[in-house]
């Protein structure tokens, strides 16, 4: 098993490397550059700028230079925030983004999963209908609608929360709700349907026939299997939520890194594009890796090495 995880680890590193490479060449192939301006920058200045940011070297040399500095976690200087390094940009923005993301993930796990289970156990009863109605709403209403409506109502009309930023604990509620809305609803639905399927399995009937307590049947036998699809979904979702959302951060004016995913592309801020992409990719790959580990722990059927009988 250790061997398997080591192999997976190497594969993960290779995946990140591949993503970085593809992103590097893709972003350089689109027209325009970091110094594209309405009024063209004079040739002499353009030369000076290109030399300063090492953009005058052949592309392949730039690629190797970038990869080399990436190995030392040096993400280079930002083009659009003059004099600020990408490391600093991410260092400044990531805490706010990660806080919101972490709390959203917590909400999804602590509310989404239990609600889904209750709903499955009370199938076709009013509780179930209510939960599924809310979950459908949550999946279909886009997050920016939730966010805008929330600000309009609770900040604008009622004045209960500040209209922007993260200045008080109350200010966290809106961004967390808007960020987790879709995934929370999706997890509730997923847990419910997967639970319902597991409950129909023979081994559950056997467990019940053997006189096990209901709590033990659900909690120990049914849950472990029912949660596998949920965990599969949660892994990448955690990576997504922890690296922020452009829309949510913009609407709630949160100084996070979510905005850079979009801003950096339109301003052709190459180093920031690479920085946030590599960060997200690493997070994503790490979560998938962790999901694999969790599989082994939760699902009694998943074993990676041959067991000695």
């Amino acid at each position: 098993m250790r061997n398997y995880f080591f192999r997976r680890f190497i594969q993960s590193l290779f995946t990140i490397f591949l993503i970085a490479t593809v992103t590097f060449f893709m972003m350089r192939s689109i027209p325009g550059g970091p110094f594209t301006r309405e009024r063209p920058v004079p040739d002499e200045i353009m030369r000076a700028l290109n030399a300063k940011y090492n953009l005058d070297a052949p592309l392949i040399v730039q690629y190797f230079d970038y990869m080399k500095s990436l190995l030392t976690f040096n993400l280079g200087p930002s083009f659009s925030r003059v004099g600020v390094s990408v490391n600093k940009l991410i260092g400044l923005g990531f805490p706010a983004t990660a806080k919101i993301g972490f709390l959203a993930v917590l909400l999804i796990i602590l509310v989404g999963i239990p609600v889904g289970i209750v709903s499955a156990l009370k199938q076709n009863r009013p509780v179930d209908y209510f939960v599924m109605f809310m979950a459908t709403l949550g999946v279909t209403i886009p997050n920016f609608v939730i966010a805008t409506l929330y600000i309009y109502l609770f900040a604008g009309k009622l004045g209960w929360v500040p209209s922007f930023g993260l200045r008080t604990p109350w200010a966290y509620i809106g961004p967390i709700l808007a960020l987790s809305g879709y995934s929370l609803s999706f997890v509730a639905r997923l847990t419910r349907s997967s639970m319902l399927e597991v409950l129909r399995q023979d081994y559950i009937r056997t467990a019940r026939a053997n006189g096990l307590k209901e709590l033990s049947v659900i909690g120990k036998h049914a849950m472990r299997n029912a949660l596998i699809p949920v965990i599969t979904y949660l892994g990448p979702t955690i990576a997504l939520l922890m690296t922020g959302s452009f829309v949510i951060e913009r609407i709630f004016a949160i100084p996070g890194i979510g905005r850079y995913f979009v801003e950096s592309v339109s301003s052709r801020d190459y180093t920031v594009i690479m920085g946030v992409t590599v960060l997200y990719a690493s997070f994503y790959v790490l979560m998938i890796y962790l999901v694999d580990v969790l599989y082994a722990m939760i699902d009694p059927r998943i074993r990676f090495d041959k067991e000695i009988p």
Partner: protein
Amino acid sequence: MKRRKLISLVLVLLGVTTIVSGKGDRDDRDSDFASTLYWNLSSSGPKTIDPALNGATDGGDVISNLYEGLVREQAGVVKPGIAESWEISDDGKTVTFKLRDSLWSDGSRLTAHDFEYSWKRAMDPATASEYSWIWEYTNVVGAQNVAEGKGSLEDVGIKALDDYTLQVELSNPTSYFISLVAFYHFMPVKQSSVEAGPDGIWASDPELAISNGPFKLAEYTIGEGLRMEKNPNYWKADNVKLSAIEVAFIDDLTTAYTAYQAGEFDFLNDVPPSEIPRLTAENPEFYIFPLLGTYYYSFNLDLDMWKDERVRRALTLAIDREKICEIVGGGKIPAAGFVPVGFIDHQGNDFAETAASSGIPTDGSGIEEAKRLLAEAGYPNGEGFPKFTIIYNTSENHQLVAEVVQEMWKTNLGIETDLINQEWAVFQDTRKQGEYEVCRGGWLTDFMDPMGLLAIFQVDNDYNDSHYNNSTFDELVSYANKTVGAEHFEALYEAEKILMTDLPIAPVYYYTEIYLSSPQVKNWTRSVLSALDFSGAYLER
């Protein structure tokens, strides 16, 4: 087992509370609330606030409150700044500024040498300022050569004769030179400060930033906001009533507007487009100012389809500009020519209003003539005229304008068009390569002279996207660049007339900008070059 779960739950909750309660109120509105202005810049934060490096209006708004140039321009009036007075020699080629005794925010003395340093730094290619092209229009001896990497800083005609005298040599008399030096690019920076934080980073570091304006930088958080505090060493500090300005970087206009309504902001640089009609109609806190810029469509003159002048005129006249402004909102001014309103000529008249007689109608009154011209050119009711494409950069506003123009050309002339939008950087590439038939253009000038606009249609200008080539026009603009007063303006009037006869572009409207200012904010002003100025503002809370 149960206890362990309980403990972990408690730990998680504790974690949540610590995370959430991390940072306290940034602006706990304490005693200085009464004299602190809360202002949203309506951008995600300026790229830089180094005066020489900045090229954007959000940076300019901040810089004009932190720094003071030789002169300060407020609402079109040029007032003495660090320069007490100035003299222009009889031949108009030597300008001598007499500086007042003034201090930097750190208490050190500000001298003419600081200006010499700052200006030479701004034009030096090693500084790599995107705005160094402006030196071409200053006519300062040798400056353009330096900016283009061809000359030496030694040969530049800027010299501090002593601590309080700055002498500038111009290659030609330049009528707008004095007002030009009010622009942020010409504001002084302190050498020791600049050298302590390369690439302009010193300017946004409260530890390093030293300025000489009404306020000084107290805090700066990337992506969040900045705080300026009154600079007690400002030469006119007695006139500065605000103790501090809290600037937020919120680019979501709806969020900022909600915060304004909740009393969290006193001043907004922009409002959501959907609110503009209502605010214009009923809110006295809403301000619209003309900007020195024009929105237009370029015809690609390299293409045969635009060779006939009558076709270009027909398309230009078939646009009802008043209707477009009504649809777009925000108080845009229908364009009667290329030079927008706001420039005053040698006789004290508005340039655009005087030139309007040779311009184009702003309403639909030219449509009949348009039809006639198109028929004369061989395309009655648009028959036989090739279908073409209008390209614009992706934005709701540009799309709206393009759709209206498309409809007007179809109904009024029977000409069919397609619309294509491109992402900004791609669009600029397309336009530069000349791979278009009709494309959107817009130009704002940075100095108080119609030259700033007309010069872009000189044949070798980088921004001449129509590839317009008229030697008489070029000569007139070049002549205007060397002259002052009546000669200068008469040449420009003539140039504008030629441009409006040849019509390499179809002007649409003159830009405006909008502000929302709480009635509590008094006595704020702006320069016509669009920098906000809170140096004399105060609050009535």
